[in-house]
Symmetry: C2
Subunit: 292 residues, 2 copies
Amino acid sequence: MTNRIIDDYKPLVEKALAKYLSFEPSLYDTVVEAMNYSVAGGGKRIRPCLLLEFSRLCGGNRAAALQMAAALEMIHTYSLIHDDLPAMDNDDMRRGKPSCHIKFGEDIAILAGDALLTHAFYTAASCSAAPADAVQKSIKIMAEYAGATGMVGGQVIDLQSENKTINLEILTTLCELKTSRLIETACVVGCLIAGADEAHQKAAFRYGHNLGMAFQIVDDILDATATAETLGKPVGSDKENHKNTFLTLLGLEGAKKAAHDYTNEALSALEVFREDTTDLKELTRALCSRRF
Amino acid sequence: MTNRIIDDYKPLVEKALAKYLSFEPSLYDTVVEAMNYSVAGGGKRIRPCLLLEFSRLCGGNRAAALQMAAALEMIHTYSLIHDDLPAMDNDDMRRGKPSCHIKFGEDIAILAGDALLTHAFYTAASCSAAPADAVQKSIKIMAEYAGATGMVGGQVIDLQSENKTINLEILTTLCELKTSRLIETACVVGCLIAGADEAHQKAAFRYGHNLGMAFQIVDDILDATATAETLGKPVGSDKENHKNTFLTLLGLEGAKKAAHDYTNEALSALEVFREDTTDLKELTRALCSRRF
């Protein structure tokens, strides 16, 4: 399927990333190359596209939103580079290409992740197309949701849950922190950088939170039920790795119902926005059924 | 020796770090513990003390400066954690204690570094005691000087220079990026957060730059000439590791002269400040002769 949000914004995001990640030739070119290699790895750019759409729904300036969107994608990419490291998930491949540490070595991969995370904040703090207090608040949320109490905390819980059986409460917290927080960041920062009020920020958070949860549950279901062909990546890896998933804890019907409920919650959070949310609703349903 | 800048500010910095690094009990306590373990590792807290002193020289608000100072020390600490990793310098000990990855494992050490770097920006962006545009500019400088074109770039050059002979130009760039940039950050952000004009920011940069260079050259000299007893750490490690140092490139007399010249440049940069710089000059001379 096609969707206006991805179709329109993805090329803008790619262009912005290339712009904000171009540096003068230097003695440390290797790390710049590694940063760009991983960022160019692609993916659907869901987070930056959501940020741009929420900014549009709140009447924001597109240039400012695009700068924040590029920053957020850098944070997402750094997290993938560090997640793939031998001491972490030890993944040699990422989106069909050698992982950053396989291509550039572990030392450069660690530094490329560090540099992307740092450059995300440089990119956000360089924004002059929005008022300073909106930029400051955006950076605060990005850092809070990506840090120890957010995405990094989720990664810690994930590492500690390996080869252990965890309950639904812990799995839900893990998913909230590791998956939802960065999607919430996209939605909330989209509102913040547009100067939206608290009611809209809260609705955006609620949307992102529920979308993230639904997204992860659908991922768990697909890993167990899809064929490698339809999914475009190896399946059954969760079971093989004895991973705790919503499927193992809720069963197939329970997981499907949970994904459905979270999706509906996400959709209902959009009611507060007065601009047209048809495209966003369509994208939400597509993401939550993974028809994308 | 004692110096008012260290004596007065160090306890404030320790207190601020403890405050900004306290989190609610959680499922990811391990990473919070690792962050605090490395931050509590100590050191002289030179960078945060310099930030506070430059803010004072520019008539800044101490609460705001203290928040930025804590943020900067988190960046410094993250860089030490990641530098010590097996894939990087592979150091088992840091300031007489097991390195973060020895104590908590490599995965948690990577994440503790990531979380400290992220939390540095959260801490800076949470500052409400200075105008938003001063906070925004401070974050921008912190990220620029700590990132690919700054400290991380220096680390890349350092890794690439291992077991190779490099010339003075490359060694100077390495030292500028790896050592000076974070000291410059301290001095410039001290001015920025106090709302100082460009002339003062430039002078602070020049001071930090020259102090950083002098500091590194003195370090190289001490590694070769001091006894382990007077230095409080193993000596001669540079020669053993065939490291490129200012001593090997300039000789002892040349290195001493360079350190002397950089120190004088740093001192002369302070002339623009109208507040009393006696203590800062004394601290500068002490740091550059390593009587501290």
